[in-house]
Symmetry: D2
Subunit: 342 residues, 4 copies
């Protein structure tokens, strides 16, 4: 950490800062600049020292040098993590394709979707049984009945089932049926829930909160990893910005950034990331081109009849065409990479 | 709802939209414009009709006309709600002043703070016993021991105790000691938790999520109200924007907006809303000038030793000076309002 | 336009609104809802009627139905516009590749760069001679000397020269040497400058302002088109959001959105859009996958010695590798599209 | 500046960084941490060194320690600047009140407004003669005729005339009639224009760009100061965020921040900062409570007939009531401050 003193900080203030740093078990190194003095604190342990130093008298700012997360970091584990469940494989060169409806509505809907997306090349099946809804008056999901329908579809197709869990009380129930537990964007910082899915031992798809920074995102993953669960995937699903022509703004540079900082697989959700069906194919293909380890896409037999998110769902045909394009891009880039290796 | 068709939408698409509207139990009114046709859907019931219509063929946009929340709305209850617990009163002309440390650290700390803020004019005492921390490696709070210390401070001072509850499992425990249950910004859309605090019957301070819209904020309140709990206060604590010189951007216009849309009291948190001690007094005073029904401020006996949030905490003296300014402003504006009534 | 009245608006207020609509030369259509009344104003002319109606008594909101721009709209011109200058072609199925340094520094630098990017497949050469710099103390560009060096490089390579013009006074001078006039993000709403480049008759690359909405962006293009200049390209270069790990957030969905709304070519700038060299290749490839009509990339012979933007510039080798990937993706997707046509 | 090396940076990379720092005329101080090495560069001169170091091999980040602006800084001039023109005084304890219509529409409108706002206590008159309009099809202002009407109103009332200048060509003309030249938010980084108003010698009101950081804002002021013009006022008029219930988000903490960093007066614009008439009074009063050196407010004889911005304009009566509240708050706080001095 670098503690930057105010211009004109007194010797006394600088000495107090040095003592403070030493009390925290760190080594202090004072550097007198032409306009300001800074105190470098060496030996940092990624704990709450930053806050503690920040409130000191005459201190202008504290600049952390080391990332606040450990187990999620590439510095700790340089080789990429791969998550593999049934047909689904993501990370370390493999791309996972997850598709399915926003909500499980009935057996016919989920089964027909599972078959269609499998035929198009999907390896995972998404579908919500417990639905977090902005309004208490909206459809809240089929709960356990929905989970059973998902499990039945999985049993037939070998697609890995991805479904959201919203509350610690439901973790055991959802884990009984699902292959991958999904943490929604609204719950990214619901720490008790993160601990509970960490303890479940199931692979987790952690969605980025709509206004979370990358450090917050990786620290949320750290809560799960910290429970001994190393099967965590990070899902970029768009952030809240001033833009109004999309539901969220989808920053695909997150793929590149996260690949540099963490070994965990990165999945892109172009459905929530745009909020408009017509934008989903382009963003799915772009995600693959950017090097994403997977995509998760909303698909519905008849989007105009969907109980939720119809406006951002693909039809079976739309999904199949999107998959053709995604795979073409992945193959084209893989061919180049292999050439480079020769 | 107004369903806006694409330019050049076919008669067939328009008729399909009309049928769709009627299937939803609404009355359809077609208006043919010079460039576009719109279908007005009359009789709306604030449900998920918007989503359903949006995915229709040839539909460009659906514009809701009625707010999605009911019980939080001034249309349903025009007179302001007042929340009153022990010394604390907020709403309908009364301003509540809540102060205290970020975290409860020990008995001496919380008791001395309670006495100091009471002497300065506070009517509520804040303090965290269960702490939601971005990093799993940060201090997580004293839990029940902290709650007991808060209760002891309340018993001595008659200040209403405000403290956060992070998980449904903890609601009963926290409700046993606290006077007001606080829902943190990270949990604003943790719907199971909202239902649980709603069912607890205790007054609730609901903090705005850092990127939530006003509709989302009021719908979160609606989850609590919907459980039969009408003692809900809304807390603006700053939003996430591109600004980096403050921790969050504090939009005081939220006070004016919420007063127009809802009968619930509006409390401002200038500590989280700025993230810097030196900004807190100005923003506390400005909040009072804007007509807030209360403020909630971090105060610590020695901010430079605080276990959390020291960089945004006031000293006892800083809080006392801030209170003098706040009360002067409230009094000056109240005098004008009373003159206007004569 | 749909004028939404407040709940409980009086008959008198509704009648006043109707009169207002009629005074504006529009036809009024009153729709009485169960909770609110709306007045549809038919025959709108994309003028400032929205503002005028919004301030009316009892009016809650005015919802425009028609886009505020005309000449930029696909409704007016459905077929895509193609811009073609020397080697450079963008739009209507062609992808233009523009590369070069942030600033022109000397003849050797610009000539070697032009040769290298041409060899890698570029069709345009970028380089700043007039530099808009955040600080008055930063390097401001070589001005006319820089323009001459660009022209010399163009004469040798047949690459189209793209360079920024910052002020109406400089338009004639820059137009004398450049093939495409670039309007920087900071000047997107410098209306006198837009008019001046419109009048110049040269093709224009208009960069999106860092916080401009799509309507504002297209209306800025409209200022240029309105001068009779139909050679306008729109450049997405990233928006300002809360994200700090990139310089700007690059929303590739802008490509898809703009392709739906306008006939103008859409160019992506992954250099400013990320602000980090290591992110540029992925985002360039993703832009091509998303269907962009071109990319504009910063390339420098030795980025660590660049006078500006070195931290986001590619080396010659980095650019060549990026081009290989971009072209592979464009070819792979084109092959699918042609299959679809058969 | 602190140059942070990548974890595992080689000795060679560290030595190269040291050489680079020394080549820039700075002194290098290497600090070896447990996980990373940093190189402190001492003697910085606020130039483009940051960019230059950032692109070095093995460099992770460069953290500037000194603010990039000089003449705007309180470090250079600790005492507050006061701007005084005719009736108007702002800064160093004085609050300036500027009011008037968005656009000058005719003589009667501007004269009656000038008289009304003067009677209510205003000291400055605002009014646009050159209007920057998002759409080329909107009303563009009365130009020189408007300036003459403003001058006539000033001659009668002694109010200082504030009006916008949009282009370098117009600076002389506008300066002939106006007392304060206003730079609009869209032109905050139109550097040629900043230089031109700096050279004019007239006081300048510089509006913050809707997505500009504080450093960018102060560097824009620096362009004006750098021309030898020290009569610069900074105007916070709201920033672009995800919020949709206000036109912009008005961050009043800007007042407190800017007072700490710069000696220049800070003016708040609650009209653009909210975009809704009903929010303007609360935000005007809150701005005064936050310690602003002035406010600038849109006032119109009949907002529902205004040619622009009617939806955010106050009536004469609304302005008078707002002024009563503002002055009560300023007086109440001034009384406390004077008590503190005794």
């Amino acid at each position: 950490m670098i503690v930057v003193m105010e211009p004109g900080a007194s010797d006394e203030q600088i000495q107090a800062t040095v003592r403070r740093v030493e009390e925290l078990g760190l080594k202090a190194n004072v550097i007198v600049g032409t306009q300001r003095t800074v105190v470098a604190a060496i030996g940092e342990k990624r704990e709450h020292f930053k806050e503690s130093l920040e409130s000191g008298d005459g201190v202008s700012a504290v600049v952390p040098i080391v990332a606040p997360y450990k187990m999620a970091s590439r510095e700790v584990k340089p080789e990429p993590t791969q998550v593999k469940v049934l047909d689904f494989v993501a990370g370390a060169g493999s791309v996972g394709y997850v598709a399915g409806p926003c909500s499980v509505e009935n057996e016919e809907q989920i089964l027909s979707t599972a078959r269609a997306v499998k035929a198009a090349g999907a390896t995972g099946l998404r579908g919500g049984a417990f639905k977090p809804r902005t309004s208490p008056y909206s459809f809240q999901g089929l709960k356990e009945d929905g989970l059973k329908m998902l499990a039945a579809a999985r049993d037939e197709t070998n697609l890995a089932v991805f479904t959201e869990v919203m509350s610690t009380e439901d973790v055991d129930l959802v884990a009984k049926y699902a292959d991958v537990l999904q943490i929604g964007a609204r719950n990214m910082q619901n720490y008790r829930l993160l601990e509970a899915v960490g303890a479940s031992g199931k692979p987790v798809l952690l969605k980025r909160g709509a206004s979370s920074t990358m450090d917050e995102f990786l620290l949320a993953a750290e809560y799960i990893l910290n429970e001994g669960n190393d099967q965590v995937m990070l899902c970029e699903r768009g952030i809240r910005t001033f833009e109004g022509h999309t539901r969220f703004t989808l920053p695909l540079a997150s793929v590149t950034y996260l690949h540099r900082k963490t070994h965990l697989p990165v999945i892109i959700d172009p459905s929530h990331g745009t909020g408009h069906t017509y934008m989903v194919p382009d963003m799915a293909v772009a995600a693959c081109a950017a090097g994403a380890d997977g995509i998760i896409v909303e698909v519905h037999p008849d989007p105009s009849k969907a109980m939720s998110d119809g406006y951002q769902s693909l039809t079976f045909d739309g999904f199949a065409k999107t998959m053709t394009r995604c795979k073409a891009v992945v193959d084209a880039l893989r061919a180049i990479d292999q050439e480079d290796l020769v």
